[in-house]
């Protein structure tokens, strides 16, 4: 079968199956099996079908486009793009449900559906409490009793299905408008899932925070979409790419005509003024002449830089949306709070898929970013990675450590993308999805067993939970980039080395931005430190809380099996199939957008800035030192963590007390929450209070006054009604009644009287007739 038909069919089905499961659970969820248990199996079946279809699509793709060979050269990008269904046409604006399928899409489908499948299966075990009535000890009712509520097992899987559908829709989307729709759907799903324990104040606050912070980013995204639309007149990916990087120009970045014209609108108007075209363009010949002059002048205007700003705004706007969704500085504050949701949610949304959507979108929109925009992306990513990594050092909540770790790793991806490492960034996205999902599920297993999130209350769980401990150790090694340098390593070893190599290459070309490399290398050390700190505190040492330790137990098999599967992926995701070029990295290399292989340079505002081509970073003189540096810093972080939390050579508390200002600074998360509270939340609340007061005093007052006036008027009207209208009606009735009473007197019941009246009446009529009728007849 033709790939052009097969892929949209397979991936479209893979995309829609979870929607069907969602709809079925919405309507029949509580009646599926005992306490809705069937809903879980249905959702797992749906995402399993998606995974199978995605993998079939991946195989079909690889059969049609074998990897290797045209490595790094100007190969044609294989993409299948089209529309399934046109939703609406407004003038030139077409809104469609379309698809854009290339190697990245196919790989994302496989990764998202497989990770989601693991998490669905895991949730079956993790959420089993929701099958019965739940007593939530964290919520106290007004009578002092803990909240009791019905289990929401089916609802959890309903949201998971909706989320899978949204995420897959976001990946397959063929145009920006559709991306935005699914972007928001993903947002609402995260809102629903973070707020799953909605009765807990902290959970509902976290859900609100996630939703509102994402709106801030989405505002930028809408601005970017408007810039794209005004400059290009289309939302569809393949048309955008074709116009931004035309084949005629060797796929180099070009400010599209539309953007130049938008920026030069005054000059165009002047040309039309000097070349009158008659009323309403009555002389097409002259209009053509004006257009010809404009076309001749366009290259000059483009060289002047007209329209370049618009392209920059488009790129930065789209990136703004990604900042919100991928929790980048300064909008990173929502993700750690989002850990209020159940742990599988954290794994699904805040590790593997939703936050990856931002990185994915940056990768998808890569051809549109100018070098300046890329530099912004890199700096934002770098700042995020450092801030989050430092906060993770002191966090004690096991999920928060992982949350900040996620933010930090997302920063890595953004940083890599920003310095031209398209493959490196997205490769890290994939490997990170596997090992971070693994780590979250492992932490969920620990929380499930101990009933607490606080690492200081854990310790010594290695014997109790060997499978969880082992798989989490694999996750920690993977995220730290462990491996035998230059020989072999876990998945994180390859992806992190790719990022650092690209950064090294970038730093060599742009010495003024070399700090990005040092920051990322320091981040690698921090990563190793906080991950092993987590592992040592949780699983090694003596139990710090006997009660917790006594209760701990290994999780059921339904939770352990996904852990093992993900651990396998965390190990092998970076490897190629031995003896072939079949692997994630070559697949991504094949999917690289046209014209980005040679890096980016010659920005209009920063002409000296140059993002080096990515294949240069594979060179021996870059690769070897970077690998050694990465290994050294990772080992340093590991050794420090071991010294503090395993061998107890250094006392962590003492260090915290010694450097107490720094410790407090990090423990309070750089006071970001307080800063935002002071800068935004409190002013907004104050404005809201003011508005409420105005509302109450002025608007309510006016409304009440109006109501009183209406009441007064209606009372007056009531009086009129009673007095005149009712009076007239009653008077008529009374008169009729009285007349009736009088006339009744005639009815005496005396038969003879009646006869007399009849006779007298007859005679009277005759007499009358005698006087009147005769004349009439005679007349």
């Amino acid at each position: 079968m033709d790939l052009e038909l097969l892929l949209p069919l397979l991936l479209g089905l893979a995309w829609l199956v979870p929607l069907g499961s969602f709809a079925a659970i919405v309507f029949f969820g509580p009646r599926m099996g005992r306490a809705g248990r069937g809903a879980g199996y249905l959702a797992i079946g749906a995402i399993g079908a998606s995974a199978v279809l995605s993998i079939v699509a991946l195989i079909a793709w690889l059969l049609a486009h074998p990897l290797g060979g045209d490595h790094g050269s100007h190969h044609a990008v294989h993409a299948v793009a089209g529309d399934w269904y046109p939703l609406a046409v407004f003038g030139d604006l077409k809104i469609t449900i379309g698809y854009y399928i290339d190697g990245l899409t196919v790989a994302m489908f496989a990764m998202v559906s497989v990770v989601a499948l693991c998490i669905h299966v895991y949730s079956l075990g993790y959420m089993h409490e929701e099958l019965h009535e739940v007593t939530d000890p964290l919520v106290t009712l007004s009578d002092g009793q803990p909240l009791k509520r019905r289990g929401r097992f089916h609802r959890f899987f309903q949201y998971l299905s909706l989320f899978s559908f949204s995420m897959l829709g976001l990946v397959i989307a063929g145009n920006v408008a559709m991306v935005f729709v699914f972007w928001e759907l993903v947002g609402i799903c995260s809102y629903l899932l973070i707020g799953f324990y909605i009765e807990r104040k902290s959970a509902s606050n976290a859900a609100n925070k996630a939703f509102i912070v994402n709106r801030v980013g989405d505002f930028g995204m809408i601005v970017g979409m408007m810039a794209l639309w005004s400059g290009l007149g289309t939302f569809s990916f393949d048309e955008i790419f074709a116009r931004v990087r035309p084949a005629a120009n060797g796929h180099a970045l070009v400010v599209p005509d539309g953007m130049v014209r938008a920026a030069a609108s005054e000059r165009i108007a002047a040309i039309y003024r000097t070349t009158p075209t008659g009323p309403g363009g009555a002389f097409p010949g002259l209009q053509n002449a004006a257009e010809a002059r404009i076309a001749a002048l366009l290259p000059g205007w483009r060289a002047e830089g007209l329209g370049y700003g618009l392209l920059l705004v488009a790129g930065l706007g789209i990136f703004c949306g990604c900042v919100g969704k991928s929790a980048q500085f300064p909008l990173h504050v929502w993700l750690p709070d989002a850990m209020e949701g159940p742990t599988p949610v954290s794994a699904l949304i805040h590790a593997a898929t939703m936050v990856a959507a931002g990185v994915y979108l940056v990768g998808r929109f890569y051809p549109v970013f100018t070098p300046e925009a890329l530099l912004v992306i890199a700096i934002v990513g770098c700042v995020t990675l450092l801030i989050a990594a430092t906060i993770a050092l002191t966090a004690t909540d096991i999920k928060r450590v992982l949350a900040y770790s996620t933010v930090s790793q997302l920063g890595y991806m953004m940083l890599a993308l920003g310095v031209g490492g398209w493959v490196a960034g997205l490769f890290h996205l994939f490997t990170h999805a596997f090992f971070k999902a693994l780590l979250f599920l492992g932490s969920g297993s620990v929380i499930h067993a101990t009933g607490t999130n606080e690492m200081p209350r854990m310790g010594g769980l290695l014997k109790k939970m060997p499978w969880t401990a082992g798989t989490m150790l694999v996750g920690c090694l993977a995220i730290s980039g462990a491996g035998i340098p230059l020989v072999i390593g876990l998945s994180g070893y390859y992806s992190k080395d790719g990022i650092l190599a690209q950064l090294y290459s970038f730093a060599g070309r742009n010495p003024s931005h070399a700090w990005l490399f040092y920051a990322a290398a320091a981040g690698a050390a921090l990563t190793a430190f906080y991950m092993f700190r987590l592992w040592f505190m949780t699983f090694l040492g003596l139990p710090r809380d006997e009660h917790v330790h006594a209760h701990a137990h290994e999780s059921p098999r339904v939770m352990v099996v996904p852990l093992v599967i993900l651990a396998v992926f965390a190990v092998v995701a970076g490897w190629n199939v031995p003896g072939t070029a079949l692997g994630l990295q070559p697949l991504l290399e094949q999917a690289r957008p046209l014209g980005t292989a040679e890096g980016a340079s010659h920005g209009h505002f920063l002409p000296t800035l140059a993002m080096p081509a990515e294949h240069l970073s594979h060179a021996h003189e870059i690769h070897v030192p970077v690998t050694l540096i990465a290994f050294t810093v990772g080992l340093a972080g590991f050794l420090l963590a071991s010294a503090m939390y395993w061998w107890r050579l250094l006392d962590a508390d003492l260090i915290g007390r010694t450097f107490w200002p720094l410790y407090e600074f990090l423990r309070n998360k750089w006071w970001f929450d307080e800063l935002y509270q002071f800068l935004f939340v409190r002013p907004v609340l104050r404005c809201a209070a003011l508005a409420a007061a105005i509302d109450r005093a002025v608007i309510d007052g006016a409304a009440h006054a109006l109501a009183a006036a209406v009441r007064l008027f209606s009372r007056f009207d009531d009086w009129i009604d009673r007095l005149f209208v009712d009076g007239a009606v009653n008077a008529t009735a009374n008169v009729t009644y009285e007349v009736g009473l009088r006339l009744r007197e005639v009815q005496t019941g005396q038969l003879r009287q009646y006869v007399l009246w009849v006779a007298a009446g007859t005679v009277g009529l005759f007499v009358l007739a005698m006087f009147l009728w005769t004349y009439t007849l005679a007349g």
């Binding site: 005496t748 019941g749 005396q750 038969l751 003879r752």
Partner: protein, 114 residues
């Protein structure tokens, strides 16, 4: 003109009919006995009948009629039949009234006025 001296003509019949009618009406108005009232009704009806017959008779018409002209006689027969039916009804009413009130004084039959 002295009617008594004239040959018998339509006017004489009408005068007799009118006398009968007036007698009947007077009887209806004056009698308290229900049977008497009934008799008055019969008189009124027959007075009217006399008029019908007189107007219908071909012998009493000055001009030669086109038809045999038995319309008046036919109406008279109707009236007789109706009078018979009416008399049966009225006697039945009187009987019932008597059964209920032990009298046939029509002045007593005024209970429906309220």
């Amino acid at each position: 003109m002295n009617p008594l001296a004239e040959p018998v003509h339509l006017t004489h019949y009408l005068v007799v009919g009118a006398v009968l009618f007036v007698c009947g009406v007077t009887c209806m108005a004056a009698k308290r006995n229900a049977i008497g009232v009934l008799m008055g009704i019969e008189l009124v009806l027959n007075g009217a009948n006399l008029n019908f017959v007189a107007f219908g008779s071909p012998y009493l018409q000055s001009t030669s009629p086109a038809s045999i002209g038995l319309d008046g006689q036919l109406m008279a027969l109707f009236v007789i039949v109706l009078a018979a039916a009416e008399a049966a009804m009225a006697l039945a009413i009187a009987l019932c009234f008597y059964n209920a009130h032990a009298t046939i004084d029509v002045d007593q039959a005024d209970e429906l006025k309220r």
